[in-house]
């Protein structure tokens, strides 16, 4: 698609102003994309670290739980885990990264449960393996909340990077070249008009001089 404009000096000035604006916008968007990429990569690394930690802690938790399950009878295990530790609260705040609103989640300690390491069962008929497993699972909950925050951030930043990339490309490969082509076309036409005016004037001058 080409930009159709009148070949006037006013249009040329306007086109040059648009090129300047588009180039500035292009630079800004490129900077934004680069910064988003930097943030994105940092978050991706954080995500990778969290996933690795989650996997190793899950393996540890399941191992402890399997040991507890092997030693305690199913009835004892069912009874021990009848009462959940109570609801957990997650606070969500928002932060801006290059104009992208991303969530920040935090697992809050309940005020009525001062000691979060307390297990919801008696100690006489259960084993320390069950304590270890539950402690690990509770620790995993914090990682899971952090992981969901990070994965949401990744999703939002990836969308924004994609949008910004499309805008940068549109400016770089479509708008700016078209504006430049239009400006060049106007310039050439204006030069043509100038040349024809000059030759016309020279002709008129020759006619006047011949008289």
């Amino acid at each position: 698609m080409t930009i159709k404009v009148n070949a006037t000096r006013q249009e040329l000035t306007r086109l040059r102003a648009r090129i300047k604006m588009a180039s500035r916008g292009h630079k800004l968007l490129k900077d934004k994309r680069d910064q988003l990429m930097k943030e994105f990569l940092a978050i991706v690394h954080e995500n990778q670290r969290l996933r690795e930690e989650l996997e190793s802690r899950l393996a540890k938790a399941y191992k402890s739980f399997a040991q507890a399950r092997a030693w305690l009878s199913p009835a004892v295990l069912e009874e021990a885990l009848m009462v959940a530790g109570g609801p957990q609260e997650v606070s969500v705040r928002h932060r801006h990264i290059m104009n992208v609103v991303v969530p920040e989640m935090e697992l809050r300690e309940r005020e009525d449960e001062q000691n979060t390491d307390v297990m919801p069962y008696g100690l006489a008929s259960t084993s320390s393996d069950l304590d270890d497993a539950l402690r690990e699972f509770r620790g995993i909950l914090t990682i899971l909340v952090k992981l969901s925050e990070v994965e949401r951030k990744i999703g939002l930043l990836a969308d924004e990077i994609e949008k910004t990339r499309r805008r940068v490309n549109a400016l770089e490969y479509v708008l700016i070249p078209e504006l430049e082509a239009a400006a060049k076309d106007v310039e050439m036409r204006l030069e043509e008009v100038d040349r024809s005016t000059a030759s016309r004037l020279m002709k008129v001058k020759d006619i006047v001089r011949a008289r």
């Binding site: 009878s73 009835a75 009874e79 449960e113 307390v118 100690l123």
Partner: protein, 349 residues
């Protein structure tokens, strides 16, 4: 106390003891290629009829439970003083009481799968009786009415505890305190029954069991960050070391070591305190505690007369059932034979 009345039962139990799986047999089972082959090997043992009835290879828990219940019934029938066996078996009734009391508190339907089916009483009947659903005429009070009255008193205490609670604690702490209340009631009654019957080795066993549980609880309580005030309501009565002394020494390593200094579990206490200070796993240490208790029972077993062999037999069966569960669940989860073997408790024979 009537040691001679046990003569016939002891004779029969000596024969029954041959059915126990030895350490070598357990190791062999642990080294089986798969769960199926371990179950196939069990078919040739006393567990055979129960293994044969299994609906799927993963329902080994039902088979083990049925086998254990049958052993309890057998020993209870031959025991001239069945209360000695019933007192040990009563821990399953008190477990069921925990399920009933907790469900009552949370206002949710009773979770049948949480019931232990090897107690002295049917859990459904026990629930009806505790909640007053059985009319006086229908109420069949068995010989162990002593246990029933303790169960009812404890059940009523959990209801009062509910009202006293006042919501100061989170659900986890409430559940812990309810379980502790029931555990305390059970062990107080258990030691009382043993003392009433007057068999020294059983009294020693009961007291040692309480001591070891208290030691384990004190270390786990520390790991959980429970304060001495909470632990005062958790420590069991009836041991050689008073619950009050344990509460006072709870948070001090040296004081705790001092308490166990004159007990047979001194080295276990030192080792456990060290592991807790290092925040290390207590898995192997708990196994050592179980083995220490088994050694107490094994010494009592040598008695030619009296209830000790019968008592040791049911205790040995409980441990064997647990060992088999460790092996079979290990096979199901493809745990190595070496790891399974490390987790096995000292067998009775």
């Amino acid at each position: 106390m009537d040691e001679y009345s046990w003569a016939s039962a002891v004779g029969r139990i000596r024969i029954l003891e041959k059915r126990f799986l030895s350490r070598a047999e357990l190791e062999q089972l642990a080294a089986s290629a798969s769960l199926e082959s371990a179950l196939a090997a069990l078919r040739d043992t006393t567990y055979g009829p129960y293994i044969a009835k299994m609906r799927g290879i993963e329902s080994y828990d039902d088979a083990l439970r049925e086998s254990l219940a049958a052993e309890y019934d057998l020993i209870s029938r031959m025991a001239p003083e069945p209360m000695v066996i019933a007192a040990f078996r009563g821990r399953h009734d008190f477990h069921n009481l925990k399920v009933i009391a907790k469900n009552q508190r949370m206002g949710m339907p009773v979770q049948e799968e949480a019931f232990s089916l090897i107690g002295n009483f049917d859990p459904g009947q026990l629930k009806l009786w505790l909640q007053g659903g059985l009319a006086a005429s229908e109420e069949k009070r068995p010989r162990k009415d002593d246990e029933l009255s303790v169960l009812r008193e404890t059940y009523e205490a959990t209801a009062e505890f509910e009202q006293d609670d006042g919501g100061d604690y989170g659900p986890a702490l409430v559940a812990l305190r309810m379980d502790a209340l029931i555990d305390r009631a059970y062990y107080a009654w258990f030691v009382r029954v043993m003392k009433r019957h007057g068999y020294d080795s059983l009294i020693t066993y009961a007291e040692h069991e309480v001591d070891l549980i208290n030691l384990r609880m004190s270390l786990r309580g520390r790991k959980q960050g429970l304060d001495a005030k909470i632990m005062a309501s958790v420590f069991l009565p009836g041991g050689t070391i008073a619950a009050l002394d344990l509460t006072e020494a709870y948070s001090r390593d040296e004081a705790l070591k001092e308490l166990f200094k004159s007990s047979p579990f001194e080295s276990l206490a030192i080792q456990g305190i060290k592991l807790t200070a290092e925040r290390a796993s207590l898995t192997s240490w708990e196994k050592a505690c179980d083995d220490a208790l088994m050694n107490v029972i094994k010494r009592a077993r040598l008695s030619p007369m009296g209830p000790e062999p019968a008592y040791g037999y049911v205790y040995g069966r409980e441990i064997e059932t647990r060992n088999l569960r460790v092996i079979l669940s290990g096979k199901l989860s493809q745990v190595s034979a070496r790891e399974i073997s490390e987790r096995l408790r000292e067998p009775y024979v």
